[in-house]
Amino acid sequence: MTSGRGNFKMALASVRNTKWRSLLTMLGVIIGIVSVVTIVGIGEGVKHQVATQADHFGKDLITVRPGKIHSAVNKQVITNSDVLFGRNSSSGLTIQDVEAVKKADHVTQVAPLGTISGLPMFDGRKIDNIQAYATGSDLASILNHKVEYGSFFTGDPNTKDVVIGANVAMKLFNERVPLGQTFVFRGQSMMVRGMFEPFHASPLSPTAGFDDAIFMPYQLADQLSNGGLQFYSILAKPTDHKQAKQAISSVQQQMDKVRGGADSDFSVLDSKSSIAIGGATVDVIATFITVVAVIALLVGGIGIMNIMLLSVTERMHEIGIRKAIGATNRQILSQFMLEAAVLSGVGGVLGVVTSFFLAWFLRTYTDYQPIITWQPVVIATLISVAVGVIFGTAPAVKAARKDPIEALRHE
């Protein structure tokens, strides 16, 4: 047998000698690897962020969501809801539900979250990309998030005061701290009473977009939408840690009363299952995209097979020479197999490097915080080598079986 290292060197040299072609061939593998590693990384990052944020909100936070939880293959998924945290759910929660949760025992603070369409108007201009939320006066303390300037609006049902996210100040008012400014939303004049500290949330987390949001009392929002207001979530905090369990069951009971028992279309979650469901949702998305990425890898593999077949034909004369000076079929086979494996392996490594670069880029310039763990990196690299070996086999066999004289005659 030939020495492995020598063969490996030869394979590397061959890849280097046809740089452009090799790079183009590797592209399929690189794209596949980058997507797998990045998607898994983003998924991990989001899960991590959701978990830390939940810690930040407090461990005992109770969440009421529309839709039932279905368990499927060890993963809990809420049906009939937006895949991301139930926003824009069709059968939302209502003010009656909020009142029910408020009535529950061992619950101190309650804040619903719902979106209301419309754009704020200031100084005669309507500003895009600002989302209005309907919520309660307890939101700041439930989220455990600081109101940097001013204060949160009160529980007074007739108040027209609102709180804004950090980015809204400049966007809407072109002013750093626009406390006391008034603007018009759906024909209703409102006053800025407070401004949140920046959230810096990842795009998939529950507080995503809160920096570009206006928070108004839900009673006011309900008036504006003629009683049709719906919430995607109701947050509640138990009086203290010990009462957390009773609080949950009490919330469940009160909700059952309003909603009428058996065919209940809502879920009461503690923070843990909230996170689990968030994670499961992310996993579902990640799985889908990973499937697509695997298809990309497959296509990459076919590309490698194609180019190896071409390479075998091109190098027929070389094969003839090698055979004439004593290479056995198996040695030729291993040479071409190794070349395919090196081609895809180098592609895999380049893919991993690119994903690290992409992860850095996302970290720096977006709110995504991908976390690249070693598992997807190792698995992706192994898969890419396997792709090379699998798809390199046919061309290598073709090369190895070639009759030496025919091969020598080939120019």
Binding site: M1, T2, S3, R5, G6, A13, S14, N17, H317, E318, G320, I321, R322, K323, A324, I325, G326, A327, T328, N329, R330, Q331, P404, I405, L408
Partner: protein
Amino acid sequence: MPIIELQEVSKLYGFGNATNIALDEVSLSIDEGEFMGVMGPSGCGKSTLMNIIGLLDRPTHGGYSLQGRQVERLSANRRAKARRDTVGFVFQSFNLLPRLTVLENVALPLAYKGVGQIRRAKLALNMLERVGLRDRAYYYPNQLSGGQAQCVAIARALVNNPSIIIADEPTGNLDSTSSRLVMELLSEIHKTGNTILFVTHNPELTRYATRVLYMHDGTIVHDEQTPVGEIAATARKALYTIPTKTVDDDLAGVSALMKAVPHTVKEANMTTTGQDKKKPAKKTSKKRRGGKK
């Protein structure tokens, strides 16, 4: 005992009406230490014979015993190993791998044999030393002249220490000086006890051979022993002989046609000796040609 013994070997190509007989029941035995030239027109089966002897090809019919071992039915794998260990090939077009250095090219058969990297480099360097190209070890084949490339190819053929060297028109792509260099080298190797078979179209080169084979349409039509240093008697008939003038002419494989026209020989001599005067020499030749017309 002969080192190579062919027993009524035939080689057929194609099927049915299109069957082409490349070798027609050829029987041949070659003793160890022979330096055999094979001559004959194109398509007469010389190369097929070489390929079968060199284990690159299998006979369609007939037996072949190499070093006392029947090899005509060996598997491809065993043939490859036997080829590696007993036969060294030299080709007309050198067939060096362009992307490997001279040293790597020479060491390649050793790699297939499984020799370690350091020992490989050492043996290959020794072999390059032997053909006088040690200083070209790290050149690439395209940086060598034809003669040098063929010497490297010979070094590669020799590196496994094979008992048989098969050279299929080794001088076919070379000028007369390089041809002589290559043939001298083969002759040198012959002296150390190797059996050498070479195909040539040039009767001059039979000077180096101890035995000359003439083939036609897949059969051996004539087989003669010849003393080293003299053109084989039969080959001489095919040569447009003109009395040679210098020792160089005697030894070099200058083609017969070149020799047939005396003034061209002189011209060739002029161009090779006075390199600085190359351009004027070419001009004069053009003028002469023009003058003739």
